[in-house]
Symmetry: C4
Subunit: 255 residues, 4 copies
């Protein structure tokens, strides 16, 4: 075994699966944590198997402490799934913290994907609106016009001139992938950007699994969405109560 | 084809044109976006052809989304034009974000120019005044005194002791180029620095094309300048209206 | 002798001791300076001998001036001690200032430890509570469950889900060490985080020496703890006096 | 000639002088600009000759514009002087902007000095007091006790425990030089730290030239000190006048 040496992107293989042109799917932390929630849900539902870990000098110099008191170094993880279409799924604790780290990590992931013969990439993320969204839409971007048209059939919305930019791994994997002749699309669930948003993640993963022809349950994301709803509504009642109390006290001063 | 690998400066050639001692012209984003506006106008008017793209780990980790929903990785671009004097024109989405990146990118551009036999460089930019300028002058700086004298004949102004410094690609290409025995000048259009300034860009490109003996139309820059004027004047009337409304309301409280 | 060249981690050996599977102990500056105080106390008490210095471009570009007017470049230091169980102890002036530096320095230390055959690591630090702690507990984390259970026997507390993360050398040495098949534990003394805390350091070093079967005096740490107590209580009386004076003056204005 | 390539420290030789164990003297920008003023004064007075320039990706990406409109890339410069004791003098526009750059630049300078056989280094700087100093003392630090004693004979003051640290090139050249078995001392002129301080620089250069047995005039530094005094006193009278005017206006409102 090669000696472990941490660099901007150090890949540690747990196994080398035999995959056929696997589709690469990325869901890392970001706006509303939508991408990560979506990727983790997919991994759980299809029971994808971890085959590689990526460590980086561009992640925070940090370990997490598990509930049982054991530690784990911050990392990204790659899972695979063999089905009608094979999949590689990227998720993890952090994105790279510097511009250079982001590029080097994206390149390392593409190197792995290329080795397995990947020709297609889906990156998942949140699309911050600053407003609470009851029914989040899925906003898209893609490497080519044919794919844009294809995505529209699945209800993905394209925003034309307002489209703006995609920052981080979800953008870079597509941009750098295109330079390696990989096709790809970014699916972004609308989200306020203020809270972790399983509601938005569900819409993203719905579109993705429909496109991939994979049938999964969304029950767990529904539950998480319900819990977030309960928590935010509880916070809101507390805020309201506090404000009413304060305004009464204000009156006392005046009256 | 060599495998794409992104580094501090990765050049991707679309073609390798046959050029004779091309003059290098730089116009990247900066104060008032003057340099970029000027370079893009020149490219459009003389129909210069793109022959290379430069990607960098020192650009933001970002893709832009085009109006049609397709993405493009942020980059710099090199165009060429064959004429009485051949030209290479550098423009792009960003300048390097770190000091090191700036130096490495400038060096990469000079490597390309040197390969084509470049002996002369013009860098274009804005000269921030903090004041609105009706008739922007073109401020200059050059690698040698002969060139300073030459530029004065075209109305370029030299500010003597107040001259100060030139930060970014416009300065570095001249400074690093001089160490490779390239001559060069920086042409900076006066601009408030608060808005994108096509008015200033026109004055810069006028001097440049006159020096190069190239005849182009300035109509599109004139149009852009008119539009900026319309928008700023509209903003000003709105501000005035708002202030008047506010002062009336103040009176109501008093009266 | 190889020429001195400073890089992210440059090790200068003063001697190469003959050690048998030495246990690596780390105590670098951090929350309450607990780790550093603990490591220095151990070094002093067991009379460990310095055998290597580590310099780094990721430490501040700085020398300290000693009381006698001589200078010393900022560095980390490695000490050894030969006993029932051999020890290597890491302490120093600073931790790396960037994420990358932190990783590279941890890796350099692990390289040294690995060369000597290290299989076990203890990292020492403070656990910031934001509150003054009369009787600080020792909070733990470890690379494996067996070690967690072992530590519990020595009174080390594990916080389950609240555990959170460990940032810096104390975390990285364990996380990166685990990837080299080294076992390890982090011992963190509770501390307010507002002052240098010898009281907390004593609790940490007590657990450590008990586990290692080493008997040392804690008198010097007790003295330091007493001194810190005296100083903080003096500051508090001054603050109280000042507040009383101010409130009297306030009354004068009113009365 | 080797092709110019800018890196963290790129040395361009103008000539390779024949020097015998030259003493290295450093005076770069810093507190009160004392070190730079002192080094430049020495260069001017003894007519030292420039033999090398150092460029760096860690300097700002900037050119300066000279009074005649020509540009110069920011850099450090090395001068030499052949006398009873040969000298190499380092001055320049900037110090490195990052920790790593500082270390790499100091190492590059020491490489050059080592090649010429340097065994002794003097670094010059300011010692910020936060207070205006009528008669600035020269504060010292050195690589060994013998040198500390030697310096005391020339009136250099050592501050014992308060000594603190020396940040930047003045510290690093001594600290890294010591690791190469070079001896050295830092001479720091007391200065408020708020203004460029030729008065402090004169005291530093006086001690240095006395130690080196070099006789120079201090007239130009005296003149500069006079000018700084005139300017600061003029500013002070203006401030006083302004305050008086303001307090009269205040009275008008009241009266």
């Amino acid at each position: 075994m090669e000696k472990f040496r941490i660099r901007e992107a150090t890949v540690v293989y747990l196994e080398k699966p035999d995959l056929k042109e696997p589709i690469l799917i990325e869901g890392l932390p970001g706006v509303g944590n939508v991408g990560k929630l979506a990727a983790e849900h997919l991994i759980d539902e299809i029971k994808a198997k971890k085959f590689a870990e990526i460590y980086s000098t561009d992640f925070p110099p940090q370990v997490f402490v598990n509930a049982d008191g054991t530690i784990k170094l911050v990392k990204n993880e790659l899972y695979y799934w063999k089905g009608e279409k094979d999949l590689i799924i990227l998720t993890g604790d952090y994105q790279g913290m510097s511009s250079k780290g982001q590029y080097m990590l994206a390149e390392a992931v593409l190197d792995i994907a290329e080795e397995f013969g990947t020709k297609m990439i889906y990156t998942l993320g949140g699309y911050g609106t600053g407003l609470e969204i009851e029914k989040p839409r899925v906003i898209g971007a893609a490497t080519d016009k044919e794919l844009v048209e294809e995505l529209k059939k699945y209800g993905v919305v394209f925003k034309g001139e307002e489209g703006g930019g995609i920052i981080g791994a979800s953008g870079l994997l597509l941009g750098l992938g295109k330079l390696r002749n990989m096709r790809g699309a970014c699916l972004m669930g609308e989200t306020s950007g203020y809270i972790v948003d399983p509601n938005s993640a569900r819409e993203v993963i719905k579109v993705l699994t429909e496109m991939l022809g994979i049938k999964i349950s969304f029950a767990r994301l529904d539950e998480k969405a319900e819990e977030v709803k309960r928590i935010t509504s509880r916070i809101r009642s507390l805020e309201k109560a506090l404000m009413e109390k304060e305004s009464k006290e204000d009156l006392r001063y005046i009256g």
